[in-house]
């Protein structure tokens, strides 16, 4: 039986936010469910504004924003179920890590604050530094403390604003696996970043915002496919590039050929057709194919394309 699907934990309908004449978020509609979603955009695109509105720290100027079914603005009760890791570095520097997280636990009204604190510390791997003042932490450790404070109360919704800032690669990997684990437990996780590799590696789905507008949403490879009006570019290495190029040019699926720099690069507007004809052409011409690389099927090119639109 199919009734209407249960409402997504986070849903925005035509949400806008402006400060006087400056529009920070412009008519965004989206909905998020369980799993990890990456919020991608350049600085000033409105990522922090979106996250703060979802966390209930900002009021939308227009539109409807619901978190777990209710607007989070001026609704302290909802904070039991939402955790936010803010971008600003500052935490209460004079408290030890343990005291800081325990403060958050107590304010969340948890029945056993010390135990929850210990669990959170273990999750972010801060146990050995837990009894030093947070002011002495490195930037990455402070980030981890902030994450621990955000999940000490086990929230089903977790919002992270540039969480990988200042983390070294090992800490980043640790954080990525942590977030994956939490998402697998059914949590809704939204994190913002302008570092494409992180989003590429962690997110199941992405939201691309630019100048306050939602430029794209979904799986980035699918988004790429949707951009049919922009040709894909492939690098091909073969036993005879020039001959292969001459043969390929005959086909409609091939948009352009470039032999500069000793490499054969082929632009095709129809990815599917090109991948079908390439091996056929090569075989008919007795040319061996050694390598084929999509040169711009990365999040970077998707992003650059969307941003330039």
């Amino acid at each position: 039986m199919t009734t209407a699907a249960p409402p997504k934990p986070i849903s925005l309908e035509h949400v806008s936010r402006w400060y006087g004449n400056v529009v920070a978020v412009n008519d965004i509609s989206l909905s998020l469910g369980a799993g990890v979603t990456g919020l991608l955009g350049p600085n000033g695109a409105g990522k922090s504004t979106l996250l703060h509105m979802m966390a209930g720290l900002l009021r939308p100027s227009a539109g409807r924003l619901l978190v777990l079914g209710a607007p989070p603005w001026q609704a302290p009760a909802i904070y039991r179920h939402v955790g936010l890791v803010p971008e600003r570095e500052a935490v209460h520097g004079f408290l030890t890590g343990r005291e800081f997280i325990e403060m958050n636990a107590r304010l969340q009204d948890l029945t056993d604050a010390p135990a929850a604190t210990a669990r959170a510390l273990a999750t972010v791997d801060l146990l050995d530094a837990a009894d030093r003042p947070v002011g002495t932490y490195s930037k990455g450790m402070r980030q981890r403390a902030k994450v621990a404070a955000a999940l000490v109360h086990d929230p089903p919704v977790l919002l992270l604003d540039e969480p990988f800032n200042g983390m070294d690669p090992r800490q980043r990997l640790h954080m990525i696996s942590l977030l994956r684990r939490m998402a697998a437990e059914g949590r809704t996780i939204l994190f913002s970043s302008h570092i494409l590799e992180e989003v590429e590696r962690l997110a199941d789905a992405i939201l691309v915002v630019y100048a306050g507008r939602l430029a794209a949403s979904g799986n980035f490879r699918e988004i790429r496919r949707l951009m049919t009006d922009r040709p894909h570019t492939f690098l091909v290495r073969s036993s005879d590039d020039r001959a292969l190029a001459a043969r390929l040019v005959e086909h409609a699926a091939v948009f352009g050929i470039d032999l500069g720099g000793g490499r054969l690069s082929v632009s095709s507007s129809d990815f599917g057709a090109f991948t079908r004809i390439l091996p056929v052409v090569a075989r008919d011409a007795s040319i061996s194919l050694y390598e084929m690389l999509p040169t711009d099927d990365s999040l970077e090119s998707v992003f650059a394309y969307l941003v330039r639109r």
Binding site: Y19, A24, N43, G44, A45, G46, K47, S48, T49, L51, H52, A55, G56, L57, L58, R59, Q74, P76, A77, I78, Y79, R80, V82, L84, P86, E87, R88, E89, A90, V91, H92, F94, L95, F100, M103, N104, R106, L107, Q108, D109, A149, D161
Partner: protein
């Protein structure tokens, strides 16, 4: 209840651990020093002028200003307020904790300074002790009114320190002393009124407001400020850094 205690604990540690506390201690020690000098110099035993000029007009408002604006304002300013705001607690609980701690600290400084100065400069005879206690009680109560006012100010604007200074120096310092009609809205006049009412008759403390008016004003300011601060905090928007 534990939430108020938790916030109070963190606020207390935040307020105490800084250089400004030492400066305020020095400030509170100034009247005591003057009292000591007066005693050593063999002048007449009268604490009232010192208590009036240096404590009620200087130590009390300035310590309340510094503690009051820092209690909430420093957290709102550097962004650590998020960790307090994003919790399922009522906003008035936050305000009560902040005002309580700041008021307690500035009250302790003012009262301590009053007691030491009063005993040193005025001795323990007859009317002197009564004067000292009268001023001590009045400043202790007024400390909460002052800090509540400044905490509310810091919930409204980031420039609470400037406005607080203007209030203390210009409004209370210059105007309310001169214009009779404005005396009714001056915490200083209320403090003086309460102190002179509690002290023995010929204490030398300026009369200020009627004691009943004074208590009413202090109560109104305290309650009003708590209310305003809670409302402003409930609608406080934390922008992203973008």
């Amino acid at each position: 209840m534990t939430t108020i205690a938790t916030i109070a604990d963190v606020t207390l540690r935040a307020l105490l651990g800084r250089r400004r506390t030492i400066l305020l201690l020095l400030l509170a020690g100034l009247p005591v020093l003057v009292g000591l000098l007066a005693r050593l110099g063999g002048g007449r035993l009268d604490a009232a002028p010192i208590l009036d000029a240096l404590i009620v007009r200087l130590v009390l408002p300035l310590t309340a200003l510094v503690f009051g604006t820092a209690a909430l304002g420093s957290e709102l300013d550097d962004g650590t307020a998020v960790y307090i705001l994003l919790k399922p607690i009522r906003r008035w609980q936050i305000v009560i904790a902040k005002v309580g701690v700041a008021g307690l600290l500035s009250g302790a400084l003012a009262v301590g300074s009053t007691l030491l100065t009063g005993v040193l400069a005025g001795g323990v005879g007859g009317t002197s002790l009564g004067t000292t206690f009268g001023v001590a009680v009045a400043t202790g109560l007024a400390a909460f009114a002052y800090t509540a006012l400044f905490v509310a100010a810091s919930a409204i604007t980031g420039r609470a320190l400037v406005f607080g200074l203007i209030y203390v120096l210009v409004w209370e310092g210059a105007l309310a002393g001169i214009l009779e009609a404005t005396k009714i809205v001056s915490i200083r006049e209320a403090t003086l009124g309460l102190a002179s009412a509690l002290a023995p008759k010929s204490s030398g403390i300026p009369t200020g407001l009627d004691p009943s008016q004074a208590v009413l004003l202090l109560g109104l300011i305290l309650g009003g400020a708590l209310f305003v601060a809670s409302v402003r905090l409930a609608g406080y928007e934390v922008r992203g850094t973008e």
